[in-house]
């Protein structure tokens, strides 16, 4: 197979030379790389903001920054991490891997692919520029609740337009992914034979198309409330501030699944390879993903148990939210069953995947506890929820982005990464992430609200520990950059085989082509696909 592909390659043009290659490229691999580099840069920008937050919270009293700037940091940290690091990271993987996994030569709409990336960059230039504006960056939280957000200074319209740009970029990317998956699969690649990563992205893309316009609508209403005298969210003009929260969370809850479904997809791709077994319950994985996506649209108001909904509404949202535990549990059980009676080895991608299953489950447990509305009356807006969603994002989404990096980097570059350093990076991350976030459960239960720049003295111990964990975690990630750099450069690295991982070609088409993957792959669709595993 690899020889065949290589044969097709030599009469194609390679990449353009120089900087222009990256600006005008329509190649899915180049655009994938651009997205991944962008995500990594944003991961460090957002991480720096997190360290500023943790530095101020190291001990009680205000030491370094003004409360208003602290609020800007929590707001910008969330926006940068969600829209700048995690989402583009997964889009980068989608660009690189979806065509290679389904036997397509490229994405269906390559020019739009380029445009959606550069719009994202434009959006972030706008957003980051607000840090230098009079009145400071947005400081009303990433949820941007009115009326508070309407007190933002000059930054408000810039933040809103940047959200519009990110939204357009996401919608274009999603359309591209859906049309690629529906139209460009190799003939033998039926829907129920697609790798789980492709499935989860297909569902994620539909989620994005459904929700991004809603978010754009909500922030546009903020814009008109502020500048054009409308009163959508102002009671004095007949509006309702809580209306914004309904609209926002109708976007916001599916959005958190946008962050986690591709995570599930990568885990479902990696674990079978290192267990040397087919994925357990492929069909139920697909249905569970679809069920989670559907449920995500009908549970939004569990973020709003305190706003004063009628009892019937609160009970409905409580029950609907609890139901999510079922398909999520099915997924966890399936991963465990995939490992069961396998022949496991523990290379870095597998280590990150196992840590993901364990730590995400802890985040799932606290999620279940919070779904119980009377308990949420205590947990809501405390560090308990900060611990919860960081457990479902950092050792889940971020860990699987790292895992995916280690897993596919040898295929992309043709060089093996340094396994010893990879494992060191894993252990540093896995230990420090728990030092960072586990104590936050205690803080929340003891009564520390989130989004406060200073706290009562009884919260000191756990905040110190959490901050120490944050610094270890943050600096450990520099190791990842070094490992990636070293692998790309290739000096002193082992060469990767075409299959990279033992028997990987049984698991996916991407392992049947040469390493490093040629600039153009699958110009003619593969005739056979690895079916015995699906």
């Amino acid at each position: 197979m690899s020889a065949e592909t290589a044969e097709h390659d030599h009469h194609d043009h390679g990449p353009a030379k120089g900087l222009l290659r990256w600006i005008v490229t329509t190649n899915h691999k180049d655009i994938g790389t651009l997205y991944l580099v962008f995500a990594l840069v944003m991961f460090f920008v957002g991480g720096l903001m997190a360290l500023i937050i943790r530095t101020e919270l190291f001990e009680p009293g205000m030491q370094f920054i003004e409360p208003q700037f602290f609020n800007s940091m929590t707001t910008m940290h969330a926006l940068v991490m969600i829209f700048g690091a995690v989402m583009p990271g997964f889009v980068g993987f989608a660009n690189w891997m979806i065509p290679m996994m389904i036997g397509a030569p490229d994405m269906a709409l390559p020019r739009m692919n380029n445009m959606s990336f550069w719009m994202l960059v434009a959006g972030f230039v706008l957003l980051i520029s607000t840090l230098f504006m009079e009145g400071g960056a947005p400081a009303a939280g990433w949820t941007m609740y009115p009326p508070l957000v309407l007190q933002t200074g000059n930054a408000l319209p810039f933040a809103i337009f940047s959200i519009h740009l990110m939204g357009i970029s996401s919608i274009m990317g999603s359309i591209n992914i859906i049309s690629t998956i529906f139209n460009m699969r190799a003939p033998a690649m039926t829907l129920m034979k697609m790798p789980l990563f492709v499935w989860t992205w297909l569902i994620t893309a539909f989620l994005l198309i459904a929700i991004m316009p809603v978010f754009a609508g909500a922030v546009t209403m903020l814009l008109t409330d502020r500048f054009f005298d409308t009163s959508f969210f102002d009671a004095a003009g007949g509006g309702d501030p809580v209306l914004y929260q309904h609209i926002f969370w109708f976007f916001g809850h599916p959005e958190v699944y946008v962050l986690i479904l591709p995570t599930f997809g990568i885990a479902s791709t990696i674990i079978p390879v290192f267990a040397r077994k087919p994925l357990f319950g492929y069909a139920s994985m697909v249905y569970a993903t679809a069920a989670i996506a559907f449920l995500s649209f009908i549970v939004w108001a569990h973020h709003m148990f305190l706003v004063g909904m009628p009892l019937a509404g609160e009970l409905y949202f409580m029950y609907a939210t609890m139901v999510i535990a079922v398909p999520t549990a099915v997924k966890i059980f399936n991963w465990t069953a995939t490992m069961w009676k396998g022949a496991m080895t523990f290379e870095t991608p597998m280590l990150f995947s196992i840590a993901f299953v364990v730590l995400f489950t802890i985040g799932g447990f606290t999620g279940l506890m919070m779904s119980l509305a009377p308990l949420d009356f205590q947990y809501h807006d405390t560090y308990f929820i900060v611990a919860h969603f960081h457990y479902t994002l950092v050792p889940a989404a971020i860990f699987m982005l790292m895992a995916g990096g280690y897993f596919w980097l040898p295929k992309w570059t043709g060089n093996m990464y340094d396994e010893r350093l990879g494992k060191l990076h894993f252990w540093l991350s896995a230990i420090s992430v728990n030092i960072l976030f586990f104590p936050q459960h205690f803080l929340g239960l003891a009564g520390m609200p989130r989004r406060i720049p200073d706290y009562a003295v009884q919260f000191t111990d756990w905040n110190m520990i959490s901050s120490i964990g944050a610094f270890i975690y943050g600096f450990s990630q520099l190791l990842f950059v070094y490992i990636v750099y070293k692998t790309i450069k290739g000096t002193g690295c082992e060469k990767a085989t075409d299959e990279v991982w033992e028997d990987a070609s049984k698991h996916g088409l991407e392992w049947t082509i040469a390493s490093p993957a040629p600039y153009h792959t699958f110009l003619t669709p593969p005739e056979k696909i690895p079916t015995e595993h699906y």
């Binding site: 370094f64 504006m133 465990t336 069953a337 405390t382 030092i435």
Partner: protein
């Protein structure tokens, strides 16, 4: 030295996992002092132990597999990839567990929703960044903000060690006082942005939404002082608007109510008195520190682009009536202080900023004048 000690303490805590460096940190939710808060606590413990049990089974299986089903142990991979019976079982079991949890949760929800037959009502209004309390039955009315000592200590570079301040950030000037064994209905609203009123010992929190009224209720069993704070991000001083509830025996509460009524009368008399400029300026300085300095800064320099400076402000050194009018009605982020400050406080801070912080206009305004304006302001509001 103190910091190093704390660091060492924190590290030793981290290493040992148990044991305490500082006496009063907690790991778990507090039980609280009401029937509801105890039910919430029990429910929390049930949910926690269910999660622990599920975790032991799932993680146990996983780690067993990780240990025994390793390639390095010579384990051969079996190639099974589905089992309908197992899959049905592990879908049904979580469903049953959920139903078991939903029943007690629903009961608490129904219970907490019923604020009827309350013996008294307190209306709570959230302001940036203080709480307003109105006892609808007794006619008691006051504002409650962060206490002065915490407020001084929490400024950047204050040089005051927070551990030396009693109840740092969880203390107020005027606490809410309630009687025990009395069903109290709380009504919640806000004057500017959304806040959330939370005292963990009562077992719940509630959003205060401008333009809307929420309700909840409590009945405290044990006399004592219970502390909490705002739980919904409400701007720069969100972390600095605590709540203190003092639950008293009914007889003590009655005494407190009488005291409050006398205080209101005294305030009324103070407003009628003629105040000298020096008296007003002296008092105004404190009022400024507690109400204005968090935005306009202690030295009146403001914050460029967000909060205008007081020093040299054309409004402040101009016509006194225009200045009073703006303070009275508010503008943009500036709250309407006409509803918030007593006539004496209002007049003294209005006088202080004209004659301090680098300004020297020289005039002053009397509390009695302010009081007249406040009453017309209130009348206009009632008309609307």
């Amino acid at each position: 030295m103190k910091k190093t000690k704390q660091l060492i303490a924190a590290l030793s805590l981290l290493l040992s996992g148990i044991g305490s460096a500082q006496a009063d940190y907690t790991l778990n939710l507090m039980k609280g002092v009401t029937r509801i808060s105890n039910e919430v606590y029990d429910m929390h413990m049930i949910a926690l132990w269910i999660c622990v049990a599920v975790g032991v089974v799932v993680f146990g299986t996983m780690f067993y597999s990780i240990y025994y089903h390793r390639k390095s142990m010579g384990h051969e991979a079996e190639q099974f990839h589905e089992n309908t019976t197992v899959e049905i079982i592990w879908t049904i079991i979580p469903t049953i567990i959920l139903v078991v949890m939903a029943i007690p949760a629903t009961k608490i929800m129904i219970d907490l929703d019923d604020a009827s037959e309350a013996e008294m009502t307190i209306k709570v209004t959230g302001w940036q960044w203080k709480w307003e309390y109105e006892y609808l039955d007794e006619g008691i009315h006051f504002f409650s903000s962060l206490d002065e000592e915490s407020n001084r200590a929490r400024q950047i570079g204050s040089g005051i060690d927070p551990t030396s301040v009693p109840h740092y950030l969880l203390n107020v000037d005027n606490p809410v006082v309630i009687p025990v064994h009395t069903k109290i209905r709380f009504l919640f609203t806000a004057a500017d942005v959304i806040h959330a009123w939370w005292v963990p010992d009562l077992g719940w929190k509630k959003d205060t939404v401008p333009g809307f009224i929420n309700e909840s209720w409590t009945e405290v069993d044990v006399p004592g002082t219970y502390r909490g704070q705002c739980a919904e991000l409400c701007g720069q001083d969100h972390g600095f608007m605590p709540i203190v509830v003092i639950a008293m025996e009914k007889a003590d509460y009655a005494v407190w109510v009488e005291e409050q009524k006398e205080l209101a009368l005294a305030e009324q008399n103070a407003a009628q008195k003629e105040w000298s400029k020096e008296e007003l300026i002296a008092k105004g300085e404190t009022v400024y520190a507690n109400n204005c300095a968090s935005c306009h800064m202690a030295d009146g320099a403001g914050m460029s682009g967000v909060f205008p400076a007081i020093s040299g402000s054309p409004l402040v050194i101009g016509d006194i009536d225009a200045q009073v009018d703006l303070m009275m009605k508010g503008q943009g982020m500036m709250p309407a202080f006409g509803q918030m400050l007593s006539p004496v406080d209002f007049a003294s801070v209005a006088t202080f900023i004209r004659n301090g912080l680098g300004n020297a206009v020289g005039d002053s305004i009397q509390p009695s004048v302010i009081q007249k304006q406040q009453s017309t302001l209130a009348a206009v509001e009632d008309d609307e």
